[in-house]
């Protein structure tokens, strides 16, 4: 980082050096040369000619932050001639102002009135006139020209003719700024939840030869200089000397203006002088890289200071760094754990999605069974001319079908109850067995949502294997119970039973087990348990929905 900065500084100085090109004042025959001095981006051509007394001229210098600005440095010039070439028919659109030494307005939004030369037909610029701006005496002056063409009043071309020695910077103060007390206060009128926080600064004069400790609290050095003739020429330079090697660590002409006086402020952040070593701080006009500063007087007001090595004992800074590191570690761990958890959730979500799709698949295979049974039942009733029964049968069938078509994974226990009742009453018409449903739970618990068609396959099994054979001796009993937070669904028949261990269980049953497995992948915190016991005196199926209430 630091190397980059130094490289940057050098390139900056190099460019300053390049820009500060001194060019001849006269040609070989001793005639003063004309220089076009307006910026390449400017549409207004301004030409400058100096007198022979001028020792040097440096045109083409940019003004920071002004794309249409240029500055011309002159040395010991007495008079100059400045003119601009414009089209004759647009002459009346030009306005210009001239200021001397930033204070005296010589011209203010004036028109171009003095004709230097009218370009004839057949010349290089037919239809143009060269107008004189009426500036001559430049002795020890800074002349600022602002010129624009109506209606583009905001596109002002600025020209500074600087013909005076640059004075040494007048350093008014250099202060070391550190973080001070923090004030917290609430303004009740604001009705905001946040208190207003003000961090105060500790200000300490940076005296020559001072020895500093740069800590976490150190913010930087604030410099104040008095008004100058050309602010941006003045640079703050911080040099570091360690082991006999001198290097520039900070260079800035980025001045700010505060308060109601003409002072200029600059700030060196603490990071530039945090390393131990001896430092030298100067403020100087920098025009060229050349070792001989032509316009600069002796460098006054340099401040030397030393940055001490940080103490080995744990200062507040170190403790806070330590804490910070610890915090960082904690945060990293936290983020890692969280990310891991997120990942797990994503995986779980994906698994749930897959499980859901498979569930849908399983469910759709469960339904055709009784659809066709029901249709057969209706057909039987029709043929027996039992219209009323057929009607009721049909309504029940419609309800069941609607429920299947609805495709909802979950159903209120209350509705499931009704569907089981519908289903059993339909099958009862066929086989004339007995059935009872005992919902031994409260009305609110009947609202609980459970996976739909959970009991259906077991009822089908019981009807198919037992009730169909036993007829009016068959008893099928369904119970809903709640034990603490568990919901228990029970189906019991008095048939002959079957071997639970047998592998070749019916398709319905295996699908059902698969479905419960899939459901348990989704509802991991409240698994569904299936328990089947079968013997001579009947079969009991217990489905426990743990934690569902």
């Amino acid at each position: 980082m630091k190397t980059i900065f130094i490289l940057f500084t050098f390139s900056l100085l190099f460019s300053i050096g390049r820009a500060q090109q001194k060019l001849p004042v006269t040609d070989k025959s001793g005639q003063p040369l004309n220089y076009g001095i307006s910026h390449l981006l400017s549409k207004i051509d301004v030409t400058l000619t100096t007198d022979r007394k001028t020792k040097s001229i440096s045109p083409f210098n940019p003004i920071p932050n002004d794309p249409l600005g240029t500055i011309v440095y002159l040395e010991d010039a007495t008079s100059v001639s400045i003119s601009t070439r414009v089209r004759k028919d647009s002459l009346s659109y030009y306005r210009y102002s001239v200021f001397e030494n930033d204070t005296t307005a010589v011209k203010s939004n004036a028109r171009l009135t003095t004709i230097d030369y009218v370009w004839p037909e057949g010349s290089d610029f037919p239809g143009y006139v060269t107008m004189n701006l009426g500036i001559s005496d430049v002795r020890n002056k800074k002349i600022t020209i602002k010129i624009y063409r109506l209606p583009e009043e905001s596109k002002v071309t600025t020209l500074i003719i600087f013909n005076k020695p640059l004075k040494a910077a007048q350093l008014k103060s250099a202060n070391l700024i550190s973080k001070g007390r923090t004030l917290r206060y609430n303004v009740p009128e604001l009705r905001a939840d946040m208190p207003i926080i003000r961090e105060l600064n500790d200000v300490k004069a940076l005296k020559n030869g001072i020895r500093l400790n740069v800590t976490q609290k150190t913010r930087g050095i604030k410099l104040t200089i008095g008004k100058t003739d050309l602010d941006f020429v003045y640079h703050v330079v911080l040099k570091k000397n360690s082991g006999g090697k001198e290097q520039m660590v900070f260079l800035s002409n980025n001045w700010t203006y505060e308060g109601n006086n003409d002072d200029l402020f600059n700030f060196i952040p603490a990071s530039y002088f945090s390393e131990p070593g001896s430092y030298e701080l100067i403020v100087t006009p920098l025009l060229s890289q050349s070792s001989q500063p032509t316009t600069v007087g002796s460098i006054k007001g340099a401040i030397s200071f030393t940055v001490a090595k940080p103490p080995i004992t744990f200062g507040k800074g170190e403790i806070s760094i330590g804490l910070l590191l610890l915090l960082l570690l904690a945060a990293t761990t936290f983020i890692l754990i969280r990310r891991n958890a997120r990942k797990k959730i994503t995986i779980a979500n994906r698994q749930a999605e897959i499980a859901n799709t498979e569930l849908e698949n399983v469910r759709s295979r469960l339904s055709p069974h009784f659809v066709f049974n029901a249709l057969t039942g209706i057909q039987n009733l029709m043929n027996r001319n039992e219209v009323e029964k057929a009607n009721s049968y049909l309504s029940k069938f419609a309800r069941l079908t609607r429920n299947i078509l609805n495709g909802q994974q979950l159903i209120a226990l209350k509705d499931e109850h009704k569907l089981l009742e519908d289903y059993l009453s339909m099958e009862q018409l066929r086989f004339n067995f007995n059935y009872e449903i005992h919902p031994d739970i409260g009305t609110e618990e009947l609202e609980v949502m459970i996976p739909s068609m959970l009991l259906q396959p077991f009822l089908e099994n019981a009807v198919k294997h037992s009730m169909s054979i036993m007829g009016d001796k068959g008893i099928l009993r369904i119970e809903f119970k709640s034990v603490q937070k568990d919901l228990i669904l029970l189906v019991k028949d008095n048939g002959e039973g079957f071997n639970v261990q047998q592998e070749h269980e019916g398709l319905g049953l295996s699908l059902c087990k698969k479905r419960i497995n899939l459901l348990n992948q989704i509802y991991q915190e409240c698994p569904i348990l299936l328990e089947i016991s079968s013997g001579q005196r009947g079969t009991t199926v217990i489905i426990t929905l743990t934690n569902w209430l």
Binding site: N349, S395, A398, K414, T443, E447, M449, E525, N547
Partner: protein
């Protein structure tokens, strides 16, 4: 009770007439119609007290018919296929409806209800509400009709913070602290409110997503609402609730 049957399939009219004659002797069949135009004539001619109205009427709908009637001084029972157009709006408006094929027991029940309905006749208002809901589908949050003993309240769903089961009743908690008790089960309201941004958190709780502030890990997971109320999330519903929260946050 003078009754009209409006259905675009003559066999349906015949079927319904037969059922009514057998099971609802007090219903006096005044006529029937199988198109909107015929229906308007029949209504003008017979001034029915009850209309059994199929939603699908050829290319038009029962709603089109209602829009054409300036005065709706009759009771209505919609008869509809289960996935018919406008069925959701009918549910939101709390208007009676029967699904095809007709369940005789349900029909008898519905007819009895119409006959008993005496004190507050809200049908016209309810129907106008229904039509306006249909017109404004997708424009702003829907309103829901909450039938009370003496009146029907129309509440915008985004005013409802939550619903809580109270036996087979449902208590609505509105954002202005008002509570409304409705004699229908939470399950019925879950069916129509979940698609418009509610989430079932518990067998007794239905919550409007927009009022959820955060998820708190108390007692195995609860939702903290903007008004500071905590709503339990039962374990089976946790999956759904978290999925919903992940979507919206």
């Amino acid at each position: 009770m003078r009754t009209l049957i409006i259905d675009d399939e003559p066999s349906n009219i015949e079927n319904l007439s037969m059922i009514l004659r057998t099971y609802c002797p007090r219903v006096q069949l005044a006529g029937s119609a199988s198109s909107v135009e015929r229906a308007i004539q029949q209504i003008a001619a017979h001034q029915p007290e009850l209309i059994l109205l199929d939603i699908q009427l050829g290319k038009q709908t029962g709603f089109d018919l209602l829009r054409l009637l300036p005065v709706k001084d009759f009771e209505i029972i919609f008869i509809t296929a289960y996935d018919s157009y406008g069925i959701d709006a009918i549910k939101f408006a709390a208007v009676d409806y029967l699904l095809k094929p007709i369940d005789i027991a349900e029909l008898v029940l519905a007819i009895n209800k119409v006959e008993e309905k005496t004190a507050t006749k809200q049908t016209a208002q309810q129907l106008n509400f229904l039509l306006s809901q249909l017109k404004n589908v997708g424009a702003g949050p829907p309103k829901i009709a909450l039938p009370q003993f003496h009146e029907i309240r129309y509440v915008s769903v985004n005013q409802i913070i939550r619903c809580e089961a109270d036996n087979s009743y449902t208590r609505f908690y509105l954002d202005d602290d008002e509570k409304i008790l409705v004699s229908r089960s939470l399950k019925e309201y879950a069916e129509i409110l979940v698609p418009v941004g509610f989430v079932r958190t518990h067998q007794s709780h239905l919550v409007n997503k927009t009022f959820i502030k955060s998820w708190i890990k108390e007692d195995g997971g609860m939702l903290l609402l903007n008004n500071g109320i905590k709503i339990p999330v039962s374990k089976p519903n946790k999956v759904t609730v978290q999925a919903v929260l992940n979507q919206s946050w």
